[in-house]
Amino acid sequence: MSHNKNAAAVEQILRSSGVDVRKCMRCGKCTATCPAFDEMEYHPHQFVYMVEKGQIDKLTASPSIWRCLSCFACMERCPRQVEPAKLIEAVRLSVIREKGANHLKPEDIPAMLDEDLPQQAIASAFRKYSK
């Protein structure tokens, strides 16, 4: 990504998330409490400093953005109200808002169904993975 394009991507992610990455004091509590820790390449605290450093390409290309459970644990337990989950959501949105970049497609759904799967699971996944 060109320097200007990258700066614009950082600005969009900061604006969309409303997160002030400079408040982070690197305590790592967000990552320590993250239930998806084992599944993630980049962890919540890394989203914070990588956005600050402008390393957006690495984040948007990482499967970590699909692994966040949106459980709000990192938001609740952050002692500085940085709220990393909002940053992860904004990075994910910057990916799926591009045309043709939906992570979950309607044709994927039938193979994922079982008789007990609640509609809530499908509605949630579409909200998180597709536009």
Partner: protein, 262 residues
Amino acid sequence: MHMKFSYYPGCTLKTKAKDLDAYARASAVALGVDLCELPEWQCCGAVYPMAKDEIATKLSAVRALMNARDLGTDLVTLCSACHNVIKQVNNDMKTDADIALRVNNYIKPETPYAGETNVLHFLEVLRDRVGFDELKKKVVNPLTGRKIGAYYGCLLLRPSKVMAMDDPENPTIIEDFIRAIGAEPVVYGMRNECCGGYVTLENKDEAKKRSNIVLESAKVKGADTVVTACPLCLYNLKKNGGCEGVDVVYFTELLAEALGVK
């Protein structure tokens, strides 16, 4: 005392989670609580859109909130996910002028909506309106001897500044409910940690792992049953988890049983 509320059931309570809804309605009648289903409600979207520039995804929640305001009632939810979405969107309408302006510009209501509606989870109706002491008096079939673990999960409690239901790390509302219906609450470490949520669609192993951690934690402390208010938690714990000797049920089922209306 007669209490009348607008009620938002949500899509899953009309389909895979009919029990969560039916037992709440039967119990509400027994408690003198009138739950009037909102006309023409739409799916809330199941997850709160966290981004400040998401407007369309918040509209269905706002429409429900606005209808409740226009009916002059508080809005009662039952599904943890609906509750989380509707309450957080309501907070946006109250506190974020930019979101409120853009939503109102889109919906164009006669009276702009500014977060006036009071959103209550059915558990809060039981605690704050009926009262657990009153509930206890109406129990005809106390669940004596049952050891029940409350599973709060994520969505009832967090983010606590907005949800404001209870202490996010040391909640008591469901334990107090369990006491009111005559059972013994079992407090266990993982009661407010995630079951794996929607990730079950793509990554069953992860949902299995998360769910089993929750159930094992409840079992070690001696729970024979775990209660939830969330259809996806119930699914994950039962289908992806599964722990011999620990049943997973909706809290409303135990309420209906205790009130003799099951």
